[in-house]
Symmetry: C2
Subunit: 373 residues, 2 copies
């Protein structure tokens, strides 16, 4: 693969992602300064993910604000494909979703696609994906969502409600459409072919259950955007609002290139990793540094390609001044990779310790969140 090439699909992210190109390719809109100002009017402060462009693209977020401003509250919809344990990258959209829930007093529907991960992965059985869904739900709850306004559901457990809406959606979607949108072919299994209907259904079910159109905002990594594109095409045929979207970048792998992957444990820090394991993974990580200390002192490092820096940028240093200082120290050759890794390991340790406490407490809260038919 050419250095310039990259692949972004719901099942694969590979290569160095050019986010501006993604905006053009997917036909989404960049988050402009004007839009940020408009958001700030409601939220009073901008989340670091917005300030720093971790959320960088959208569809109809401005329309969501139009509706909000005339008193039509939106609900949030996001989810997780439970193919393994949660890693820190998964938390990015969830942390942001929690911010949106707080600032806009919004209900959240959180879908666990245990069916899709089973249908996609030859190695996984349904019991495993269902088990992971409950493991992942602990992490969702640990993010601090409001139990009164947050509804987590597993596809396999909530199918009675989902299927009726999915079937109405599916009636308007042909094999041609999913072939073009998802790259399905004659060898794709018929469960996966139908699945886009299941992922589309939650965009609409608050509207259908409440008997009136309710705007939907989906915060998610941009690889999921193709699902919502199909959902948006069908919505008017059902007399329903198109879902709006706000897209995050990918959390980087600890190794060179690509995103964190639950299937490659050393590329990611999992929420259940002990601080010791996390420290080891950080110690082994790729960096933007030079081969020797001497060269690092002379030439400086490159934070723009460095996972250690990205961890700070995304999760562990939300103070813009402090982050800028780190960036310069690296560039100037003052900050050595080993030192930076130690700093990050400390932050990760304190984050994991705190998160794991909340995660344990989440076990008792589970039933307040789970939606069943």
């Amino acid at each position: 693969m050419d250095e310039q090439e990259f692949v972004v699909t719901p099942w694969e992210v590979r290569g160095k992602v050019d986010y501006e190109k993604l905006i053009r390719d997917f036909g989404t809109n960049p988050i402009t300064e004007d839009l940020l100002e408009r958001i700030r009017k409601h939220t009073h402060e901008l989340h670091p993910f917005l300030r720093r462009g971790a959320f960088f693209s959208h569809r109809d977020f401005d329309w969501i604000l139009d509706k909000y401003e005339v008193g039509e509250k939106f609900f949030l919809y996001t989810g997780r494909g439970p193919s393994g344990h949660t890693h820190l990258g998964h938390l990015i959209p969830w942390i942001f979703t929690k911010y949106l829930q707080d600032k806009f007093d919004a209900e959240l529907y959180f879908q666990m696609t245990d069916d899709e991960k089973f249908l996609h992965d030859p190695e996984l059985n349904l019991n495993e994906t269902t088990k992971y869904a409950y493991e992942n739900a602990l992490d969702v709850i640990a993010c601090g969502f409001d139990p009164k306004k947050t509804f987590i559901f597993l596809d396999t457990e909530y199918m009675k409600t989902l299927y009726k809406i999915a079937a109405q959606f599916a009636k308007h979607v042909t094999f041609s459409t999913v072939k073009a949108a998802f790259g399905f072919d004659a060898s794709t299994n018929i469960g996966l072919i139908f699945f886009p209907s299941i992922q589309a259904a939650p965009c609409f079910f608050p509207s259908i259950l409440k008997g009136k159109n309710v705007p939907c905002l989906i915060p998610a990594a941009i690889d999921q955007s193709v699902y919502w594109r199909v959902a948006r095409d069908v919505a008017p045929k059902l007399g329903l609002y198109k879902p709006a979207e706000i897209h995050s970048k990918f959390f980087p792998s600890l190794m060179r290139g690509g995103k964190m992957s639950a299937s490659e444990p050393e590329t990611a820090i999992f929420t259940i990793d002990s601080p010791k394991v996390a420290k080891r993974k950080i110690g082994n990580a790729f960096t933007g540094g030079q081969p020797t200390i001497k060269e690092q002192r002379e030439k400086g490092g490159n934070p723009d390609i460095c996972p250690i820096y990205f961890y700070e940028y995304f999760l562990f240093d939300w103070d813009d001044k402090s982050l800028a200082k780190t960036y310069r120290s690296c560039r100037d050759g003052c900050l050595l990779c080993g030192e930076h890794k130690q700093t990050l390991a400390k932050s990760v340790k304190s984050f994991l310790t705190e998160h794991q406490k909340k995660r344990e407490k989440a076990r008792d809260k589970m039933e307040n969140f789970i939606l069943r038919d």
Copy 2:
């Protein structure tokens, strides 16, 4: 279409059906005298549908008896696509299924595919197919099934259970397979593409729910056979028994050619028709008679193409001697079509009166039969 051509798919039966050719084309087995004798050993009497060949073809019915004879009881599975009201043709497999339930003390799972009829017919919405499912269920119950051993479910209401099994099935079925089996193409909607999994699921769920393989026998009209062919291919991959099948012929239209169709009301007598309406439809029916009474007396009629005769054959004259006499009287020109229609109208009147009483009583029994998640 050539006189010799005919079409049999789950969605269309057209032309004069050659049942021997169907056996060859579908790769099923004829019901032989030996098999009939073996059935008689258990049932002591042969149902007229077996004696007369209304059920004429099977897959693995002999294996079902092998299992039964060593103490492995089978369950029955059949169903209905609720696109309209029940007509007399629909009752054929149900009446036979009731006979099998009685004779073999078998549980029956009865599927109402309200999803499929919605997905297939551009004119129907889900509320309508669900409404028809309950209307049709009244007719099923009126057939006299044992409420302790009969489980009727609607796909949209029992999807939580069905979907988990359907997903496991779907993982082994590609678009290629359903394209070849059902004639799906790129313009088929993704709900219909997935649907064969939903129709396959009940073949397996008693086995899955009980945690041990339970033989399944499906009595159904032969147009459904393609579903079971796919189900049989996948079963071993799931470690499950292949479902066995026994196939009925199609109940004829009151008009020339084809089968009764719920979408063409004048071709069929519905269970909710008043005797007066039924009499009118019979009066207007096509027959195998001659254009004039004079010719009829001279040349005789042709019962082999006559819906009036087929009504007697299937449902209203189960006495073989009496039926043979009718056949000869028609052939000899003794029996005029008008007379025969009057006789049939009387039988239909007494059948409908009785059935409609049972159908009304079924309303109070519904909840004893319906299975919900």
